[in-house]
């Protein structure tokens, strides 16, 4: 089983009404892979991410997690195994940082209050926010919120983490702290599927970069090749522009 890829996406098609936003996407991810998705807005990156944990349903093709088609899994069980980090954080607004992280373990995994609290503090410590455990989301900066968002997903012990533009809603000076946490995660062996424009992160941490445009994969390969020697002129132009805009934020 563990020789199989952790994630296999095979000829994925997704339509919103008449508009086809994903037109046959196929790729695989092994354990500990960090797959970065880039592409212009409307290219289908976020939709692809959301198909993996079925926040969006798809019409054609197949996605398997650990060999099981996600469409055959219980949807709550699937999401237990796949953590997600949102562009606008979506922290539970009525709960403190610690309680945000505890909710999943308490209500989904059935852990006790003490176990969940202990784990939450560990995760907060990992993202450098132990001191903010009792702060409410409104009292945290954007960067802190996103780190809590990451900690919340990690507390569920996911097999795979999905990042949907985790730094796009942040002020430039706050991006670094979030990217740092993500790089630590990647280094620690977490399997990650990341939609981002942070080319610094892509260069440093990505196993592969996938360039999506209009619902199709234009180019897919290791960062060195895509940055230094891309097959398509479009890829070169897009990556160059992203690097100029988002390359050196730290």
């Amino acid at each position: 089983m563990s020789d199989d890829p952790l994630v296999r996406v095979d000829d994925l098609h997704k339509r919103y009404g008449d508009e086809e936003v994903l037109k046959g996407i196929s790729f695989e991810m092994d354990r500990q892979d960090v797959q970065v998705l880039v592409g212009p807005s409307g290219s289908g990156k976020s939709t692809l991410l959301r198909c993996v944990n079925r926040l969006t349903e798809f019409q054609g093709g197949e996605i398997t997690l650990d060999g099981t088609p996600v469409t055959e899994m219980d949807v709550d069980d699937l999401r237990r195994q796949v953590g997600m980090v949102f562009q606008d954080f979506n922290l539970f607004a009525h709960l403190t940082a610690k309680e945000n992280i505890m909710l999943g373990p308490r209500r989904v995994l059935g852990k006790t209050e003490e176990e969940a609290a202990e784990r939450a503090l560990d995760e907060l410590d990992r993202v450098g926010l132990a001191a903010q455990a009792d702060s409410y989301p409104a009292e945290l900066s954007g960067g802190q919120k996103q780190r809590v968002g990451i900690a919340r997903a990690l507390a569920m012990d996911p097999k795979l983490m999905l990042f949907d533009e985790p730094t796009s809603a942040l002020d430039p000076e706050l991006i670094g702290e979030v990217v740092e946490v993500m790089e630590d995660l990647a280094e620690g062996g977490m399997t990650m599927l990341v939609v981002t424009h942070e080319m610094g992160f892509a260069r440093a941490a990505a196993t592969d970069i996938m360039f999506l445009d209009q619902g199709r994969i234009v180019e897919h390969g290791p960062p060195e090749r895509l940055f230094e020697n891309p097959e398509h002129e479009r890829t070169a132009q897009f990556l160059e522009r992203l690097t100029r805009l988002h390359g050196e934020t730290r």
């Binding site: 926040l55 953590g83 949102f86 979506n90 607004a93 009525h94 909710l103 989904v108 409104a138």
Partner: protein
Amino acid sequence: MSAGEADGDADADAGGGVAPDARTAGPRRSRAGTLKYVAGAVLWGWVLLRWGNDWLGGVFVPRGQAFVPPATVAGLGDAIPVLAGVANGLAFAVHYLPNLMNAMWLTVVLTVVSITLGFPLAVALAAARSYGHYTGWAALGFVELFRGTPLLAQLFVLYYGLPWLPAFFRNLPFVGEGIVPAQAVWVAVVGFTLNSAAYQGEYIRGAIDSVDPGQLEAGRAVGLSKLGSVRYVVLPQALRYAIPGWTNELVYLIKYSSLAAFITVPELLYRAQAFASETYRYTELFVLAGVLYLGLVVTASSLMGYVEGRVAIPGLGNAEGR
């Protein structure tokens, strides 16, 4: 936040909302606020003494009789002629208040029981309206039926149109004995509960819809079921948003409860009117009843203001957080 916060003092601090201990810090009272608390303490101290006295068979004075004889109050006017008019008015009030108090007990029972029973029903209706398919249609039907027809007509149908309903309550133990009101009150409670649930449900639905959809999605993303996400993520936020609107409904219900008089419930306004037609002193008695209603309403809205402050969360529902 919108209207419905006539009593700004209790949530003045919660409105600041940045300090983590905003929930535990006691409300800072203005002078007017202090006056209100003193007036409330005097009113309710006296009301409870009054009820206690009458329920326990006349501990201090015989049932229905004033603590201070009206004649004594009127006597003040003889002593100080300038105050004779005031003294006479007071004596009149003192004479009738004890009986109005027993009527006010019914008003309190009607309101408190109905709003309390209506609340869980309202939450279910609101959740169904926001998230349900077939249940959503059913909830919509319920809401339109009870909001769209006169409350008085609903009470008539329940009391006169369904004879088994009052009969059912009449046969329950304790009904009509001691402080437990008679069957007509419980029929009215059924009517108010259903009607109020429809209105409360609409306030709560509005609040649910104002919770960022990303909150539900994040709940689903950590593996909570839809029901679990609503229960643990959406509702705790929505119910906080709903407090001002819900308070409005509570205040309405206090006054609407007087419609129970039409199905023979001798509540506050009914009793005031009965005394008025005996004495022809309509103005005085309705002013007296009005003062008591005002006391109930200010108490209710102050309590809800206090609750709102207690459950306030920094950045949630405060002006600066939204």
